[in-house]
Amino acid sequence: MSERSRSERRLAWMLCAPAIVTMLIVTGYPIGYAVWLSLQKYDLRFPDEKEFVGLSNYADVLTSTTWWSDVWNTVIITVASVSIELVLGMAIALVMHRAIFGRGAVRASVLIPYGIVTVVAAFGWRYAFDPASGFVQNLPLISDTAAPLTERNGSLAVIVLTEVWKTTPFMALLLLAGLALVPDELHEAAKVDGAGPVQRFFRITVPLMKPAILVALLFRTLDAFRVFDTVYIQTAGANGTETVSILGYQVLINRVNLGVGSAVSVLIFICVILIAVLFVKGLGTTTAAQRGEDN
């Protein structure tokens, strides 16, 4: 290695070091500490009873019905919101991609939900559906006394609606970037061969966009799985809408049981890693397959 490239490498690492060290400290250390805490019996109300208990906190969490019903709630919210977002996001992306006019207006307006504080969006939708203040019950076809946020299905629907409203724009923008990579000539050629718009969408656009779709799904799935703000504001986990993040919060902050709470935290972390690994594997095989076709 030449002197020049060696000094270039040294400079590169020096420039990256502050960012890398900061990221390691702010994530690596607390997660390591969470693992350690999760192996202790440690309740801040009884700090003197702190002792090493091995994996028994994990056993407690994994044998509790609360944990599993919360995982189930989180999965329902994640799957429902991400799949609706994919369809809606694709529709908005197509409108933006093919728009003859008003592209700027559409782009500007979809960025509004993106920029809004999640807590604000959650309050807005909550008041919209609250029978004491909401305009929704005033709409035709909807019962005047409907109170979705007092029962489970209604609450889940409002939570999903809020999440979808807030994050579809991000999905749409990622998909729009993917759409731009699909060459127009392919569409023209298929048109000449007599393919209709639906056929062209499913046979040309979707396969070519598969990596972009998977990346967008990965980002949104991981994000949706951590859902906290919306649930906290709209139901605080009541009516059987508690998610894993809300459970972690309740145990850690409200019940100050750091031992069991940290076990919940670590389990959520493991879930997120599992989801990421699954997606990255899927992404790896699709890009590999596409490269194979190109050769």
């Binding site: 590169a12 690492w13 559409v106 309050f123 703000d229 940290s262």
Partner: protein, 276 residues
């Protein structure tokens, strides 16, 4: 290409639907915030009477004004620090040749996907021991978990697009290295840095989980957390008008920024994800 009136009509409807989709909840909160308190329960989308009493209330409530100062300060400092650190890293990633680029980028991606709830318990315990609980740095530090990866991604994508040869060209033309940097590279890099800063600021401004768990008083509580703790006349009554007015106050600056810089924000949002 010419369009038939039918196509134009269809497009107009499509655009209108998207506009309504984005605007209805915002207009709804704005409407609530402008209703006089005795009409908050009228369930009308459009207020019958306009009143600014909710805005007067919140600006006379110290919980809110303190929270606004905290939000601006904490999100601003978190943005400044992460942009500074990320700009150095992104310069190296975009311009220098060294092994380990892929590891740094995937490491940053992994950090970006980190669930905040996994570390709030640890931070809650450590912060109380070292005196960072309920302080500005106590929030700025954990914000690095999401601001740094985002900044690194968007900045390195932007920096890759800069024609760096211009720097050498300027030096050949007699500019000193510092002049070349200041007069050629800084103007080229500034828009990207600015966009990344806006994106990072929006994320920090939006945080609720850290602000909710790592603060307990007006000392460092930011607006999203303060909104959740607003109380009305009684414990069971939510101050709908005040919360709506406060919501509009924190939403307007972001909407204005987003609308002015929409083109660059879209580029910044997608550059990192697609090319990275």
């Amino acid at each position: 290409m010419t369009r038939t009136p039918r196509e134009i009509a269809l497009w107009s409807i499509g655009i209108l639907v998207v506009l309504l989709y984005a605007l209805i909840p915002v207009l709804w909160i704005a409407s609530l915030s402008l209703k006089p308190s005795d009409q908050l329960g009228d369930r009308r989308f459009i207020p019958q009477e306009i009143s600014f009493e909710n805005y007067e209330t919140i600006f006379n409530t110290e919980t809110f004004t303190r929270a606004l100062i905290n939000s601006v300060g904490i999100a601003g400092l978190a943005t400044l620090i992460s942009i500074l650190l990320a700009a150095m890293a992104a310069y190296a990633l975009a311009r220098l040749d060294f092994a380990g680029k892929a590891i740094i980028l995937s490491g940053a991606l992994a950090v970006a996907m980190f669930p905040p709830i996994s570390i709030v318990g640890s931070l809650f315990n450590i912060w109380r021991e070292v005196g960072l609980y309920d302080t500005w740095p106590g929030l700025i530090i954990p914000y690095m978990t999401f601001t740094l990866p985002l900044a690194i991604y968007t900045l390195s994508a932007f920096f890759r697009e800069i024609p760096w040869e211009l720097e050498q060209a300027a030096q050949v033309d007699g500019a000193t290295p510092f002049q070349a940097f200041r007069k050629v590279i800084v103007p080229l890099a500034a828009p990207g840095v600015f966009t990344a800063a806006i994106l990072v600021f929006i994320f920090a401004w939006n945080d609720f989980i850290f602000a909710n768990t790592l603060t307990s008083t007006d000392e460092a509580r930011t607006v999203p957390a303060a909104l959740a703790f607003f109380t009305g006349g009684s414990q069971f009554e939510q101050p709908i008008g005040a919360i709506s007015a406060a919501s509009i106050v924190v939403t307007i600056p972001i909407i204005v920024m987003v609308l002015i810089f929409q083109r660059r924000i879209v580029a910044g949002l997608t550059a990192g994800a697609v090319k990275g």
